[in-house]
Amino acid sequence: MSEARGLTSWLTTTDHKRIGLLYFWTALAFFLIGGIEALFIRVQLAQPNGQVVSAETYNQLFTMHGTTMIFLALMPLGASFFNYMVPLQIGARDVAFPRLNAFSYWVFLFGGLLLNASWFVGPLFHAGMLNVAPDGGWFGYANLTERQYSPGPNIDFWVLGLQILGISSLAAGFNFIVTILNMRAPGMKMMRLPAFTWMTLVTQFLIITAFPVITVGLAFLMFDRFFGTHFYVREAGATPILWQHLFWLFGHPEVYILILPAMGVVSDVLPTFSRKPLFGYPVVVYSGILIGLMSWGVWSHHMFAVGLGPIADSVFAATTMLIAVPTGVKIFNWIATLWGGDIRGTTALHFAVGFIAMFIIGGLSGVTHASPPADLQQTDTYYVVAHIHYVFFGGTIFGLFAGVYYWWPKMTGRLLDETLGKVHFWLQFIGMNLAFFPMHLIGLLGMPRRVYTYAPELGVGTLNLVSTIGAFLIALSILIFLVNLWRSRTHGQPAPNDPWGGATLEWSVSSPPPVYNFSVIPTVTNRLPRWSTERHGPMRDPPAVPPEPIHVPGGSWWPMVAALGLPVLALAPLTQTLWVAFVGAALLIAGVYAWAFQPFEV
């Protein structure tokens, strides 16, 4: 029943809380890597005719920045909270499949390492360092990704890395769906789930439906590159537009895969710090579900410039404008939650309110893309870069930081420093607006995205310099955040069970929670179990000491061994060495076999 310590216990862990922390630290590391790549991009663009990096390196930088931030930083940061918080919020002792959960993490780590190894392994492919990282953009448009136009291993790393990461996401997706549907505590009806858990559920459905599409698209590309098929080869009668459809069929739900968890965090943070129930909880939940459904009907708005015809353009313009409705509903519900509340201006609340403000800007610029004539002027310019960063940085990152400041005491037992937190917030808030708002103007003035330099005659030098200053301000804010994390280990105020007065079940147990989570599985009788309302009093927290022994399953090496098989398998086509494929397959099969037959009672 006591928690094991030491490196082995972390490598073999199947505890959702430890896996959540592993996700957090790994995703944070990748976030820093993606941030450094962004700084290089901004330094290069700080002035016209920049010479800091070559065009080839620049292509790799923006490709890896996008790929890293989306697949290796934002998604897994969300997964960190899914892992740590969802079982606690639903009153469970763990996820439905703890070993599958460990497998998901190790696959994510190895997939991320494989992708990033591409920065350094150029000499193994008879190329220099910084020469074989993916360089086709995070969207990897065909037919530039075909062997004919990208003969090096750059795109191979991207294809294989994303395939591996997709396996991680799918495994986690099924795991969390089963967990949320089947592992809820007695009385935890669906409409009593915390909003964050609801948005997690919607996100997982998007993951398990959207990732197969990109998997198919990538498999076609893999076959084209390695086995000479012609899925995207125009000369052979195929159309590269197929890739765009497959990619954006995945890509737009992916936008909501990234934003819905942040919306869930904000929907939990705002009620706590305004001491009011979430305004219109059912409507917020239904809006989240509707956003998930509607995200399947908007993908071609990424393709207006293709020339799909006026009918298709009109249909997708209409669906894109319509999806703003449930999003707007959520925004009004959040504002109404704050209205008249007993507001406490904590750092978490600052980030949650910052999320609302920045996401409104990102949402509005998104609506401007929904109009095909306007979109044709904006496509492939910095206006789109501004939009995506207001959504993902102003939206997802701000929302996730709200979650970090809110749940950090629960996850570590230490409070983060509020003063440092607010300095972090304001620097990041000012920095992001300096960095990304000028990009609207840069784009409308005609600067295309993905170009490594520009002429002074374009007249966007000053705006680009401001943007670069903003990027470094963001970097400074992140540095302060890291200091805050580090400082909290020794100087952080010890956190009680419930430092904020939260309404949900995670606050009913110690900080950090014991390995078994709940000494007694709680019985839930209402949606705000820890609050006293006019209809009910607060629940009684579970006793600190379990009344009877609780069995906690031990760790296992096999999920990690099985996961290791995947990057080894990927090395086979990369190195064009058949026996490596057999080693990878053997590791995977042996890992899964031993995992399946390892007794649960260890």
Binding site: I177, R184, K189, T209, H245, W296, G297, L308, G309, P310
Partner: protein
Amino acid sequence: MSAEREGTERHAHPTVGVYLRVGAALVILTVLEVGVFYVPAFHVVLVPVLLVLSSAKFTLVVMFYMHLKDDNKVFTFLLGGPLVIAVGVMVALLFLFLGALTLRGAAGAG
């Protein structure tokens, strides 16, 4: 344990005989699928016939071997919802790929 799960556990599994009969039905449907290919009269409606037969097989598999028939209705919804999305997306893609030229031509723009 959630209310839904309690409800689920009350359902009994089908008997082995039911599984065998469903298996036999699947074999017969497969034979029909292969058979219609060789009957010239069916060639004009081959695709719709094969789609109907495949749908019947799919329905039998998910009802019995995936236990949806006896399980909580929420699981039928969980399968059916994404299936509807997938079919919708496929139809949209068919329109976009096969209809784009016609539509564009009719509108005189591109």
